[in-house]
């Protein structure tokens, strides 16, 4: 591991984003706009407060999944990855650089969406806003790690985008956002038990619903972190120095 290479990678990715202002604007504003839309669809601050926390976790997860899989795929198809693999760059330097850059973007994204939800849309958070940010950053990390991993199985950007419904939508459907997990049939309940997003959403609901830090909260966070690290390790395994 080399901190200077990691930071250089982070800076490089942020620079790439800087040259693409349209993407930046969409990254920062789209989740917020969707929150606003949702608030008026429900037309009730109480109902909104019920689903908003889960959404704050789902957005960075989905968006980071997409961005990370496309960025990595591009890196693979344009040959820049091959070039980097001939250089003194460790796989984890690259992954950590990605994680830092995208994590930063996710935090900004959530800050804006959370701020608008809290001050304007009537979301109430009992716990600390910091824990909320921590959980969403972990969510973003999870999405990024999964995106990176699946990009190894895509050869075109079309395929990479198609992986989203496969890997992300089932998790979003089963995470307790649409239906409490306890009310699902045993099979769906079991499925949602093995999907990391469920734990992230539960953690978010706990933070918004209660002021205390509980043991379940810690467990949920550890599950999300563990899954993110596992996906990162799998992602690292797909970054090969030698290819066929």
């Amino acid at each position: 591991m080399s901190a200077s290479i990691t930071l250089a990678t982070t800076r490089r990715i942020l620079n790439q984003l800087r040259h693409d202002p349209r993407t930046v604007v969409m990254l920062v504003l789209v989740p917020t706009l969707l929150m606003v839309l949702l608030r008026f669809v429900f037309n009730s601050a109480v109902v909104f407060s019920h689903v908003a926390p889960a959404l704050l976790g789902v957005f960075p997860f989905v968006i980071m999944f997409l961005i990370a899989s496309i960025t990595t795929l591009r890196e693979r198809t344009t040959g820049t990855l091959e070039r980097l693999m001939t250089m003194p760059l460790g796989k984890f330097d690259l992954l950590a650089g990605y994680a830092l850059a995208f994590g930063l973007v996710a935090v900004v994204q959530v800050l804006v969406a959370a701020a608008v939800s809290l001050w304007w849309l009537g979301l109430t958070v009992q716990g600390s806003v910091w824990s909320l940010l921590l959980i969403t950053a972990l969510d973003a990390l999870l999405g990024m790690a999964l995106g990176l991993f699946v990009s190894a199985f895509a050869t075109t950007e079309f395929q990479a985008i198609q992986f989203m419904p496969v890997f992300v939508l089932p998790q979003a459907l089963l995470c307790g956002l649409f239906q409490p997990r306890s009310e699902m049939g045993w099979l769906l309940n079991w499925l949602s038990d093995v999907m990391p997003l469920s734990y992230a959403v539960e953690a978010l609901q706990q933070v918004t619903g209660g002021a205390e830090w509980t043991a379940t909260l810690t467990r949920n966070l550890l599950v999300v972190l563990g899954c993110a690290l596992l996906a990162l390790a799998l992602g690292a395994a797909t970054l090969r120095r030698r290819t066929p």
Partner: protein, 240 residues
């Protein structure tokens, strides 16, 4: 021969179920400019990938600067320019090079230096995506030059360039070789062969010739290297 820059022995590579390199053996001397020539699809890129250590191989060995190809100690001693320009399209030339320089641990000042060497100083702050094909190729070449590597592996670096620029780059290559850098340069174009000190002529994954341009002319009795190559191909077909 431990002081050869590259030793390839019995190298075999299979890609997509086909034998792409079959039992290839040769050595490259330090400070030489070796031209890798042959028809499209004969395995030039595959061989270069094996030398820089990103190609899965299926037999034989490649030793570069005394170390196994692709091993850690080699990673800032080799510069590689891929056939398709590999630079970030959404960064400026300078930003892209700065990134690669930090990865290589090359001094920051070397960025402006290599941009100058490939003649892109006037475009240093232009997005790579907005460059012409030839300019993009040169930006990619500049990355390979970063950090003054001991070995340069350049895959068709002069494709799509005008005669003036080609001349300029070949001068650069020879200047670098005179300073002790070893260069392996692939090309389709036979008139570039004459500029190399050594030629490796490849066809369908085997070497047809491994000689200096003059020796090749003498051996085949052809003044023109393109004719010499065709001569070798016909000779090979007769004997097999």
């Amino acid at each position: 021969m431990t002081n050869s820059a590259i030793v390839v022995a019995g190298l075999r590579v299979i890609r997509g179920g086909r034998d792409v390199l079959r039992d290839l053996s040769f050595t490259v001397e330090p400070g030489s400019v070796t031209g890798l020539l042959g028809p499209s699809g004969c395995g030039k890129t595959t061989l270069m990938r094996a030398i820089v250590g990103v190609q899965l191989t299926h037999g034989g060995s490649v030793t570069v600067l005394g170390e196994p190809a692709g091993s850690k100690p080699l990673r800032n001693r080799i510069g590689y320019a891929t056939q398709n320009p590999a630079v970030y399209a959404d960064l400026t030339i300078t930003e892209s090079l700065r990134y690669f320089a930090s990865v290589l641990g090359a001094p920051r000042a070397s960025v402006a230096e290599v941009i100058e060497q490939v003649g892109l100083t006037s475009h240093a702050d232009v997005l790579v995506g907005q460059l012409s094909g030839g300019q993009r190729g040169r930006a990619s070449l500049a990355v390979a030059l970063l950090g003054s590597p001991e070995l340069l592996v350049l895959d068709e670096p002069t494709v799509g360039l005008d005669p003036v620029l080609r001349e300029h780059l070949w001068d650069l290559f020879h200047r670098l070789a005179a300073q002790g850098t070893t260069l392996v340069v692939s090309s389709h174009v036979m008139d570039e062969a004459a500029r190399c000190t050594r030629l490796l002529l490849m066809r369908e994954g085997v070497l047809l010739a491994d000689d200096s341009p003059d020796a090749l002319r003498a051996e085949t009795g052809q003044q023109d290297l393109e004719q010499a190559f065709l001569h070798l191909v016909r000779e090979k077909e007769h004997t097999s």
